[in-house]
């Protein structure tokens, strides 16, 4: 199930969400885009975190439990410590897919030239603004598309450097 939903192209998520929106008579808005993208990246997160947690040796669970900790103690205090680098990688993977995704938000978030003031207004995502502004005939607008691309890349670089830094710092206690 998770594997299937991972394989679905994001445009399908977008159009599916759009058809649901039409059914309920909703208009494009930031909130709906957020929900769609969340649905898009959840399978990615589940799958990659699942792989991380599978690598934890069984003895860790036994050791934790036999000290008299509860399951949630073991999960949050031991497993998480062991897995945090992998979890961060999973989040980064999902983040990269989410921020660069244009198709899923095309019909759900829409596009606007204004800065949204509430979750119910349409908003411009960076990939979409690259797409729309680049197809404009006015050169100044086209330049803004390049600016968007730079901003997008900078965000991704910052996040991945930060992720690497954090997971490296957390890594040294791993067994």
């Amino acid at each position: 199930m998770v594997d299937i939903s991972w394989g679905i192209p994001s445009i399908v998520y977008g159009t599916f969400a759009f058809s649901i929106m039409l059914y309920f008579g909703l208009r494009m808005s930031l909130l709906l885009g957020i929900i769609t993208v969340a649905a898009l990246i959840i399978p990615i997160m589940i799958r990659s975190m699942d792989e991380v947690f599978k690598t934890v040796p069984n003895e860790l669970m036994e050791a934790g439990l036999s000290l008299g900790s509860t399951f949630s103690d073991v999960a949050f205090k031991i497993y998480l410590k062991q897995c945090i680098p992998g979890v961060i990688t999973a989040i980064m993977l999902a983040f990269g897919r989410a921020i660069g995704d244009a198709a899923a938000v095309l019909f759900t978030t829409g596009f606007t030239d204004n800065i949204p003031t509430s979750l119910h207004q349409p908003a411009a995502t960076l990939p979409l603004s690259i797409f729309f502004q680049l197809s404009s005939p006015i050169e100044a607008v086209q330049n803004r598309a390049y600016a968007s691309a730079v901003v997008l890349m900078i965000i991704i670089i910052i996040v991945s450097v930060l992720g690497r830094y954090i997971s490296k710092r957390m890594n040294h206690n791993k067994i």
Binding site: A63, G68, K81, K174
Partner: protein, 252 residues
């Protein structure tokens, strides 16, 4: 008559239709070292894990019979499992130090058992590390990750962590099988010291080790208890043919 700490009564355990433990009846006396011996795969570890209900983790386990700890059935529905497990420190074949610093490994045990006072934490940790003769080796690097220690040191660290929750019993599953002779001797000596205040159950298939430390022997084969007696009788005068064969391994 010595006090009985754990009593196993008509205990059967199936995993996926395999009959792992067959009608086990045995007693673990208080403040003695009981050694469970037998060939590989005869159910020693499973019996040990049944005692602190780690077998609950396995899939498709069916259990009949009772295990009494201090005359209280641990398979009763109203038993508090975390409380039960806290009473039993477990040492596994390979040390399973937690992914934290040396200090926090022991502190974890203390925190879990509800003793959170920061002031005394350092002193307590020193106390437990000294108890397993690890303090002098690690006192300068308490905040380094536990996996930077050698396997033998980690095993002692696990023992310290187990002691920190203040258990009544120590269950040790081949605690020295991954260790060099010197580290093994350190663990064995520790057991000899600790048996004055704790009940210790050790699983081993090293006969010499059993000879050195055991007060009582439980000999198992293919999921059944073949013989249980005190160590002296067992080694000098084994009653069952299988145990005779097993012991003759020493002489061979």
């Amino acid at each position: 008559m010595e006090n009985v700490k754990i009593e196993v009564e008509n205990f059967n355990l199936h995993i996926k239709n395999q009959h792992i433990l067959k009608n086990i009846n045995c007693c673990i006396p208080e403040k003695k070292i009981t050694v469970i011996m037998g060939y590989s795969g005869c159910g020693k570890t499973t019996l040990l894990k049944s005692m602190n209900r780690l077998t609950d983790l396995y899939n498709k386990v069916a259990i009949t019979g009772n295990i009494y700890l201090n005359n209280k059935n641990i398979y009763d529905k109203d038993i508090e499992i975390t409380e039960l497990r806290r009473k039993m420190g477990l040492m596994s074949q390979r040390p399973s130090s937690l992914p934290m610093s040396i200090f926090n490994n022991v502190a974890y045990g203390l925190k879990i058992s509800g003793r959170k006072k920061k002031i005394s934490m350092g002193l307590r940790i020193e106390h437990y590390l000294k108890q397993v003769n690890l303090w002098d080796e690690v006192k300068d690097r308490l905040h380094e990750p536990a996996n930077s220690l050698s396997i033998g040191q980690q095993q002692r660290l696990c023992l310290a962590r187990g002691l920190a929750v203040d258990p009544e019993l120590i269950l040790a599953d081949e605690p020295t099988s991954a260790l060099d002779p010197i580290s093994s001797a350190a663990i064995e000596n520790k057991f000899m010291d600790l048996k004055n205040s704790y009940t210790i159950v050790v699983v081993t298939h090293t006969l010499r080790q059993a000879q050195r430390i055991a007060d009582n022997i439980i000999f198992m084969n293919a999921g059944e208890i073949i013989e249980q007696s005190n160590a002296k009788d067992f080694f000098t005068n084994p009653k069952h043919e299988l145990s005779q064969k097993f012991i003759s391994g020493i002489l061979a």
